[in-house]
């Protein structure tokens, strides 16, 4: 069982090593997803750390037949994030620092800066479920099958939801631009 608790394309027979690999392969992705969902950087740090701790404690419950270790880990993080959202009773603002949100990089062209601002405006029209899909796909880099496993729907359903969200975001970007 523990052999499959690994990062994608990695195999090991040592449980401790398996968790370490899972952690190293997913730490930043998991943080990016949780931060995108919570839109609160410090809360995302706490939730991500708690998710890894919980995953470590529950590592023996992992069942490879029910999905990859990566999807299992993101499922734990999702539950922790949703519990945090319930606790706070509010959706926090995006994790990005204010100066990052408004200021353009000195190396960035004016056109890119405008498009980035339009994107951020467009992101605000997405509801939390849509923002979660964006976070899973574009921040964490999960494929459609993994997204389906995390949010508990079929793969085709996950693809449909994701395409619908991307389409909505493209339209919003066009309008904002």
């Amino acid at each position: 069982m523990e052999q499959v608790l690994t990062a994608p394309r990695e195999q090991t027979s040592t449980p401790a090593l398996a968790f370490d690999q899972l952690y190293r392969a997913n730490r930043d992705d998991l943080f990016a997803y949780v931060a995108g969902l919570l839109r609160d950087r410090s809360a995302a740090e706490d939730v991500t750390a708690a998710a890894f701790e919980r995953a470590y404690r529950k590592r023996r419950t992992f069942d490879a037949k029910r999905g990859s270790g990566r999807a299992w880990l993101f499922g734990i993080a999702r539950n922790a994030a949703l519990d945090e959202l319930r606790r706070r009773k509010r959706i926090a603002e995006l994790a990005a620092d204010p100066e990052d949100v408004e200021a353009a990089s000195p190396h960035e062209s004016a056109e890119v800066a405008v498009r980035r601002a339009a994107l951020r405006d467009a992101m605000r029209v997405l509801d939390p479920r849509e923002r979660e899909l964006i976070a899973l796909k574009f921040f964490a880099g999960l494929d459609n099958g993994e997204i389906a496993a995390v949010i508990g729907v079929s793969e085709s359903n996950a693809g449909t939801k994701l395409h619908r969200t991307i389409t909505k975001l493209r339209r919003a970007c066009d309008e904002a631009a």
């Binding site: 370490d20 890894f52 919980r54 529950k58 023996r60 949703l82 994107l119 979660e132």
Partner: protein
């Protein structure tokens, strides 16, 4: 709460655009008509929140230290949650099943042997001897308590005999209080009175004779009977016990069943005598005598002269004597129907155990298996529905918890 996810086939256009997104995320070129999608993907990827280096370093340390390793920061609930479902359900189910089996087994055993266990240690000398408690002074018959005797329709049950009743006491038959047996197989069956006596001989090893006789006494007492007499003689390798047991007739069959399980049955004779006719005769005589006395009392009340009254008083005295005699006769016959006797002899035999045949052992094995199967069946009848209820509750709770979490995104 969604019970099923609605399946929507991915249309070709959506599939193509999603593939373009995957290509763009992988840094690969996309078709020119989807260039804007690739730009959007790149912008979104740039928006990805990155963890701070300090937090990353702290988390790396925590992971390396296995989150302090001792798990002290985890509550019992989290520790339970970290177990596989089967790690909880398996032991818990086994524990519950064992508990139910134990309870069912103990209760079943206690139902069958509680009375025995309470009296197994009693000595024969403590058994009350047959004594004359009837007060009639005619028959040395013990008074047998018959609690809950609602099924037996013996005539004695319908005949009230106040204790200490002597001359001048009215005895009467409750004619309307006629009970019918549920086991009636022929009209008038409940009126039949049968006297039953059993002679039984058991053999066991000499050192077990006393124990068997003690158990026989315990069985008798547990079935509301008494030991009229008991005698145990032990001399070297010879041992014999002779018991005269008296039980309510309704418990005779149960007593025979249990006594025959104590040791090897050497002989068993049961004598049955229909005493319905003498019973009804005695009943009629008693009723007639009472009727005569009532008539004489009525005449006495209407007597005009002292001479006439004196003659009636003498007749009433005679009638009272006849009532007493008829009542004694009736009680005697009723007692014969109500009570049965067992003459039990327990003989010590050094080879008693060797008499057991393969069939006896087989019967014992079947009996044990039957009891075990019964206990398991009853346990299953409790555990399975309980398990189903727990599983349903578990599923419902999981659904509710999931639904509450999902509502955080609404």
């Amino acid at each position: 709460m969604k019970l099923r996810n609605r399946e929507e086939p991915l249309d070709p256009r959506a599939e193509r655009e999603l593939e373009a997104v995957d290509l763009a995320l992988g840094g690969h070129p996309v078709d020119p008509d989807l260039a804007d999608l690739a730009d959007l993907t790149a912008l979104l990827a740039d928006e990805r929140p990155e963890p701070g280096p300090e937090w990353s370093a702290e988390l790396d340390e925590s992971v390396a230290a296995r989150f302090r390793g001792d798990g002290s920061s985890f509550s019992l609930r989290e520790r339970l949650a970290s177990l596989r479902p089967m790690q909880i359900v398996g032991p818990a189910g086994a524990l519950a099943t064992a508990a139910v089996i134990a309870v069912v087994g103990v209760s079943s055993l206690s139902d069958t042997s509680s009375d025995e266990s309470a009296t197994l240690t009693s000595e024969p000398s403590e058994v009350p001897a047959l004594s004359d408690e009837s007060g009639a002074g005619e028959t040395a018959a013990p008074v047998i308590p018959e609690p809950g005797d609602a099924e037996v329709g013996s005539a004695a049950d319908t005949f009230d005999t106040p204790s200490g009743g002597g001359a001048g006491t009215d005895y009467y038959l409750n004619e309307g209080d006629t009970r019918t047996s549920k086991d009636q197989i022929a009209p008038g069956q409940d009126k039949r009175q049968v006297e039953r006596d059993v002679t039984m001989s058991l053999s066991t090893r000499p050192e077990n004779v006393r124990e068997v006789s003690d158990e026989a006494i315990a069985i008798t007492r547990s079935l509301d009977g008494i030991v009229a007499s008991s005698q145990v003689s032990e001399a070297g390798r010879d041992a014999t016990a002779t018991l005269e047991l008296t039980l309510p007739s309704r418990n005779l069959d149960a007593a025979i069943d249990r006594l025959t399980e104590l040791a090897n049955v050497k002989s068993l004779n049961e004598a049955t005598l229909d005493i319905t006719k003498p019973f009804t005769t005695a009943e009629d005589e008693l009723r007639d005598a009472e009727a005569e006395r009532r008539s004489l009392l009525q005449a006495l009340a209407n007597a005009d002269t002292d001479v006439e009254a004196e003659a009636l008083r003498l007749q009433i005295a005679d009638a009272r004597d006849r009532i007493s005699q008829a009542r004694a006769e009736f009680e005697n016959i009723a007692r014969r129907a109500r009570l049965s006797s067992i003459s039990l002899t327990v003989v010590g035999d050094p080879n008693a155990d060797e008499d057991r045949s393969i069939g006896d052992w087989f019967d014992d094995a079947v009996s044990v298996l039957r009891d075990v199967a019964g206990v398991l069946l009853i346990s299953a009848a409790i555990v399975i529905p309980l398990g189903i209820l727990i599983a349903i509750a578990w599923l419902v709770i999981a659904r509710i918890r999931r639904s509450r979490r999902e509502r955080a995104l609404d």
